[in-house]
């Protein structure tokens, strides 16, 4: 998931990435591995779990003089390489500090 905040002029104000997936090593060193031929067991699992919501709170501090931000949240599925992306949802919100 990539959350991006941009000013009205398009300038990027901040970007946060969250990666949800099981993470395995070969249990002989501490390096994470991809590929069944290398992996032996999961040591961490940040993946989406059945019947459980994955919640995040992401904060962007705005620079002086900026009163508005366009926020985009992109959720996609990465297969074997970051280039193999399957878009799932894209949500955009205009957020203003002025009432």
């Amino acid at each position: 998931m990539v959350v991006t905040a941009k000013a009205a002029d398009g300038k990027e104000l901040g970007k946060v990435e969250k990666h949800y997936h099981p993470q395995a090593t070969n249990c002989r060193d501490s390096k994470m591995k991809y590929g069944a031929q290398w992996k032996v067991a999961n040591i961490r699992d940040t993946s989406l779990q059945p019947s459980q919501a994955k919640k995040e709170t992401i904060e962007f501090e705005l620079p002086a003089g900026v009163r508005e931000a366009n926020v985009t949240v992109e959720l996609y599925y990465e297969l074997t390489t970051p280039a193999q992306k399957y878009p799932i949802h894209t949500v955009t919100r205009k957020v203003s500090l002025d009432r």
Partner: protein, 304 residues
């Protein structure tokens, strides 16, 4: 007595020969033994779904890749053969799920042929024709109708025995099955149950191999996260609706895969703009983004 000895000696020699003759020595022979093209005549729709499925290309990875290449390369992995010509079935523990018929019905020579094909397909110096031919050879190795509806159809072998020759297994019995080889269809107790898919879609580390390795964890996630939540759907309920043998996702179909993911995963986004007062007189303009992702899947995402 001498005659009896002679008979015993002959039997001793002949039995391994018979057993060996039953096994495939080449990729072509193995593909022919498990060929299910005759199913297409009567089950055309299902056959087309299967042809587009990952079960039809279990050694090909996604979008034409060859997922076993690292294992074929000398010293490429702990499983790799030192010499491609001496490759054995043991060099490919992935066969347990990606080609179960090889364990049952192939000689080590099939592993040698596969290793050579994988190396040719990955060889930068090989001609395009040679690479194409090597890839086509690997593509012949498929999880065919026979593998699911016979080879892997029984998990209670102590009670029910091995799958019978000439019999297919399915969710319901068919009294007369008009096929030259498979003339009967018997009902399998597990065909509508997640445990059937769980045979390959993984619990975690494979400790039954001399070198432990881990592929899919999906069935483990189903058993230990989904079932404890009180949910009751099976793999087939979601992935084989109306008997669909595509068993989506099909990662070669970008649009279809995205649509399936969007159906199973929801994203809620809430935002807030305000000025945070950290200390008196210093307001910090801030945007807060709250995201909530939920899934209807019966397993962790991602997994396989």
């Amino acid at each position: 007595m001498r005659f009896l000895k002679l008979i015993l000696v002959l039997l001793f020699i002949a039995v391994p020969l018979v057993a060996s003759a039953d096994k495939a020595k080449t990729i072509d022979e193995l593909a022919k033994m498990y060929d299910s093209s005759s199913c297409k005549g009567c089950h055309e729709g299902i056959y087309k779904q299967w042809e587009n499925s990952h079960h039809a290309r279990p050694l090909m990875g996604v979008k034409g890749g060859l997922m076993l290449t690292p294992l074929a390369k000398a010293k490429g992995t702990a499983f790799s053969p030192d010499d491609p010509k001496k490759a054995t079935l043991k060099n490919y523990p992935c066969f347990k799920c990606h080609l179960p018929q090889a364990i049952k019905s192939a000689e080590d020579s099939v592993a040698v042929e596969l290793t050579e094909a994988l190396l040719t397909a990955a060889d930068e110096k090989a001609s395009d024709d040679a690479k194409k031919a090597a890839k086509a050879k690997v593509a012949k190795l498929q999880i065919t109708c026979i593998v699911c509806h016979n080879t892997n159809a029984i998990i209670h072998k102590r009670e029910l025995g091995e799958p019978k020759d000439g019999v297919l297994y399915s969710s319901k019995a068919v009294a007369s099955h008009p096929d030259g080889k498979y003339k009967a269809v018997e009902k399998s107790a597990i065909f509508k149950d997640s445990v059937y898919c769980g045979q390959c879609h993984g619990l975690g580390p494979n400790f039954d191999n001399e070198q432990a390795f881990q592929c899919a964890n999906l069935y483990g996630s189903y058993l230990h996260s989904y079932i404890p939540s009180g949910a009751t759907q099976t793999c087939q309920d979601c992935h084989m609706q109306k008997g669909d043998h595509l068993i989506a996702p099909n990662w070669n179909d970008d649009k279809g895969a995205s649509e399936l993911l969007a159906k199973a995963i929801s994203l809620d986004v809430q935002t807030l703009g305000y000025e945070w007062l950290l200390k008196a007189g210093t307001h910090i303009p801030k945007v807060v983004v709250n995201t909530k992702i939920t899934t209807t899947a019966g397993h962790r995402i991602p997994d396989g």
